[in-house]
Symmetry: C2
Subunit: 242 residues, 2 copies
DNA sequence: ACCGGGACATGGGACATCCAATATTCTGTT
DNA sequence: AACAGAATATTGGATGTCCCATGTCCCGGT
């Protein structure tokens, strides 16, 4: 191997090479102090700068796009993306669906993590909740009740409810995570052929949670969330084991 | 034939097309009832089956690889991947570094989420912890103490400690999330120019947490974790606001 | 009979070169 | 001044070609 190859990247495993390329692009963004919304060099410039073919570069760029690092606009250019973990939902969702074919372990894990997050953070959210935000939660519950009465799908309304529960924390990361979990969770009933989100009990629990939050009862709110997710967990477990 | 393909969802943005292609591949995996470790068709077969060029297909495949859906082995083939969210760390980590650069709010959000997760799940972990797992935690604390005494870097040891705390739950999703958070968190001190993980107080807190876990005191363990992360939060907040 | 090395087949990795699709920007006409 | 269409820049996608990594298998040596 004394033949010191001129090749930029040594003969590391292919996976490592691709990741290295991605890292290089990210470093380039950080080095040039680009911020969200700023344009990146064009594909041609980048492929030249990094010494790789445009096609190889594009593979990395698409990955970065999927990871939510950059935004690619056809015919215009590439830009540093604003925060959003949405893309991760695809991978997670796929994995959960795959797991549901066996014993649903991943789906159950997802619910467990979500339970810990929501019941663990509700206290802090109650602390800094404004009257308007409380009213927005009330509104979401009311919408759920109406949809449930009409027998319509209320998964989206439920998501909005949970989202608004934690808006006071002003924590984008948490919001993104909740969105991801929700988008995965929303596919579970369809995959299992169950329809539990429409149950009147579910709506009632949400109403109770709202009441607890409104009365600033952190312990009760946390408990209710716990039982809510516990119920979900049990239902999924039942269907899967059947 | 492929030429006169009327392109079902043609007029959607290119982004949507790429995502659709990824979905098609995932559907294909699910339809064929492939499980983790099973081989996928070759790139050529897939590009033929899906009616796209091999290059385009590869872009999607690389994305799926990054999302942890498939595993690509050079010269051998592609396989349905076992669980691993490691790749997601790249995106998260990048974004956090981007935000640390000016505001550091995301760092605070990250710590908050981590606090909720760990203090919310420690109880369940204590419930199903074996003697061996407890011993492993003890070992991790001891390692931290030794490293701290020697004045060496103990971030990795700290990560191992937290990881072992939640091993009893056997929740891969949680483990992956903790890894992600840790990989981001480990970059915070460097990015902000602080060096707090080496403090003797930190080690002492970890020892106390171990003691609480060993005595099955869920409440105390959760409290200690809370204060631990709260301390972190305060230190980061100081540096950021300075 | 057993072991090892090398040829071979398979399949992913990388690149160059087209051309198509599309968003922005400029320009010319009204 | 305002609008329509052309020019341009940039990404999207397809194809062909070659390279290289990995696994398999045969064949020869021991």
């Amino acid at each position: 191997m004394a033949t010191s190859r001129i090749v930029p990247q040594a003969r590391f495993s292919a996976q490592a090479r691709l990741r290295a390329l991605q890292s290089e692009i990210m470093e380039l963004i950080l080095d040039r102090k680009l911020e969200a919304g700023d344009p990146l060099p064009t594909e041609n410039e980048l492929s030249l700068a990094l010494g790789v073919g445009r096609n190889t570069l594009r593979e990395s760029l698409k990955v970065l796009q999927a990871l939510g690092v950059i935004e690619i606009r056809h015919g215009f250019g590439m830009f540093v993306a604003p925060s959003n973990l949405e893309a991760l939902a695809d991978g997670l969702s796929f994995r959960s669906r795959l797991s549901l074919r066996h014993r649903g372990v991943e789906a159950l894990q997802l619910i467990e993590v979500r339970r810990a997050l929501e019941s663990g953070l509700i206290g802090g959210s109650i602390d800094c909740m404004t009257a308007e935000q409380l009213a927005a939660i009330d509104e979401a519950v009311t919408l759920m009740e109406e949809l449930a009465a009409a027998g319509e799908d209320m998964i989206a309304a439920s998501a909005q409810f949970h989202r608004r529960l934690f808006e006071p924390l002003d924590n984008e990361l948490l919001m993104s995570l909740l969105d991801v979990f929700w988008s995965v969770y929303s596919k579970i009933p369809a995959e299992l052929g169950m329809d539990d989100e429409g149950l009147p009990e579910t709506v009632a629990v949400h109403r109770k949670i709202y009441a607890a939050v409104a009365s600033k009862d952190k312990t009760l709110a946390a408990e209710l969330l716990d039982t809510h997710f516990d119920g979900m967990r049990r239902r999924v477990a039942e269907v899967v084991s059947a």
